[in-house]
């Protein structure tokens, strides 16, 4: 049986003496399980990463030219998925949060004397050996999230797809080839999935499956991905246009939507689902005011900030009835949705065979 491969650990610190200490101390503690390389600045580190892949990078924060936080950000772009541990002599809560938000796996304090190093070693060693042992590691450029999800589902995998941009962080839970849950900010369920799939760029990580707090998605992955693609198409070519146009602008907003109360306990979604609302670059931020979701059979599945679900349901039934008669009058095809946009926001009433959805938003494109 062959010996397990040594873990490649790269330490980046501007203090050459400290790097020597890392090499000596950690090398001894690792007992040939680590192969340690060192770099004194970001340029050296990048050159080393290009020459040889690392399993883990341990990064000092206080470095000249490009500090550790900036370098962490850069690594997130040049080496997505690479595990980075921050090691600093000047730990603050703000720095810790910033680094973890940027994707650092751990944030550790530099020991003040040698007695503290075994604890640092233990933490790094545990992390590097917890990394996946099988499968490919590497970079994929310009890969759509749809393709990643498709690969996972086709392979009947179980995983969590973490998606992140500068403003949005979300997760899609895949269990045995089925998408079972998605969350993005305060959104969850298929609305969250569609909003994540409508993102134009960003990064992602595939991590081992963990059971979500709740499962919110039941449809087949094929249907969900097709639906996401369809909504993106109808939302104004989200993927290819630099500043999508609003679909339709309206003059007045229905009172039933405009008067939604905002209770202090109700969570407020930060970003509207891109599938339902497109926002030009110059538009005000879009904010969801209320959502109501019924099953195809009319059972109320979810209501948020809706002053009267009965009134909303009656409205949708009226719209559906009118749409049916229009469909019967000419070859316009099946009804999909009715949209209204006002100075204050936008309303979308979507009617599908398996669901009825009402979303009211404020902000977005100015009329």
């Amino acid at each position: 049986m062959s010996a397990p491969r040594k873990k490649q650990i790269l330490f980046v610190d501007d203090d050459a003496q400290l790097l020597g200490l890392f090499r000596e101390l950690f090398g001894t503690m690792a007992k040939d399980r680590w192969e340690i390389s060192v770099a004194q600045n970001h340029a050296e580190a990048l050159a080393q990463l290009q020459a040889r892949k690392a399993d883990l990078v341990v990064l000092d924060i206080g470095m000249p030219m490009m500090d550790g936080v900036q370098f962490l950000k850069l690594l997130g772009q040049t080496h997505p998925g690479l595990q980075v541990v921050m090691l600093t002599g000047n730990a603050t809560l703000e720095k810790r949060k910033e680094c973890l938000d940027l994707g650092a796996a751990m944030f550790l304090e530099k020991p003040t004397d040698k007695s503290g190093y075994p604890a640092v070693f233990a933490a790094i060693d545990a992390l590097v050996h917890a990394l996946p042992q099988e499968g490919f590691r590497g970079m994929m450029r310009q890969v759509g999230l749809q393709e990643v999800l498709q690969m996972e589902c086709l392979g009947v995998k179980s995983s969590v797809l973490e998606i992140f941009t500068n403003k949005v962080r979300g997760r899609v839970f895949i269990h045995e080839g089925s998408i079972v849950h998605a969350e993005s900010g305060q959104l969850s369920g298929d609305v969250a999935l569609y909003s994540l799939l409508a993102l134009r760029g960003g990064g992602f990580n595939l991590t081992p499956f963990t059971e979500p707090d709740r499962r919110t998605i039941e449809g087949t992955w094929e249907f969900l991905l097709m639906e996401a693609a369809r909504l993106q198409d109808e939302g104004g070519e989200v993927a290819s246009m630099p500043a999508p146009e609003p679909a339709v602008e309206m003059a007045d907003i229905p009172d039933v939507f405009a008067s939604a109360p905002r209770g202090p306990s109700a969570p407020e979604p930060a970003v509207a689902p891109a599938a339902a609302v497109t926002t030009p670059a110059a538009a005000r931020p879009t904010e969801i005011k209320q959502t109501v979701l019924w099953s195809g059979g009319g059972e109320l599945l979810h209501a948020w900030q809706c002053p009267s679900t009965d009134q909303a349901k009656q409205l949708l039934e009226f719209i559906e009835q009118q749409a049916r008669q229009i469909s019967a009058a000419a070859a316009v095809g099946r009804f999909e949705r009715m949209e209204a946009t006002t100075n204050d926001g936008r309303v979308v009433c979507q009617i599908q065979s398996d669901r009825r959805l009402l979303v009211a938003t404020a902000g977005g494109p100015a009329v």
């Binding site: 104004g236 602008e249 309206m250 719209i319 095809g333 009715m338």
Partner: protein, 114 residues
């Protein structure tokens, strides 16, 4: 509507994807123009009347909207209404990537000329 006004309206509504337009006034008098043979005059009138009626029905349900977009599998019906009750419906092809901003501008202009 005099022929010159109708001609000007037809020119201004000759927008990408527009198959026809139809106007219905408060007395249920219709004017329309077809850019394609997709819709017959009777269909335009039926749908326009139906949408104007739906607008009224929505108002009765405390939804005082003057403009709507009804999206169907093949067509998008864009609707604007003036304060004098005149309703304009644009019958627009429903296809991905069709930018509706100029259609919206045309509807806004129609509403503004009340």
């Amino acid at each position: 509507m005099n022929p010159k006004t109708k001609s000007q309206l037809t020119q201004s509504l000759a927008l990408p994807g527009v198959a026809a337009w139809c106007i219905c006034d408060a007395n249920h008098a219709f004017e329309h123009h077809c850019f394609t043979d997709w819709f017959k005059a009777a269909q335009l009138q039926t749908i326009t009347m139906r949408l104007a009626g739906a607008l009224e029905g929505l108002r009765k349900r405390q939804t005082a909207a003057r403009q709507f977009c009804w999206v169907f599998e093949h067509a998008q019906l864009l609707l604007a209404q003036r304060t004098n009750g005149e309703t304009l419906v644009l019958f627009v092809e429903h296809r991905p990537g069709l930018n509706l901003s100029i259609h919206q501008a045309a509807l806004a202009e129609f509403s503004a000329r009340s």
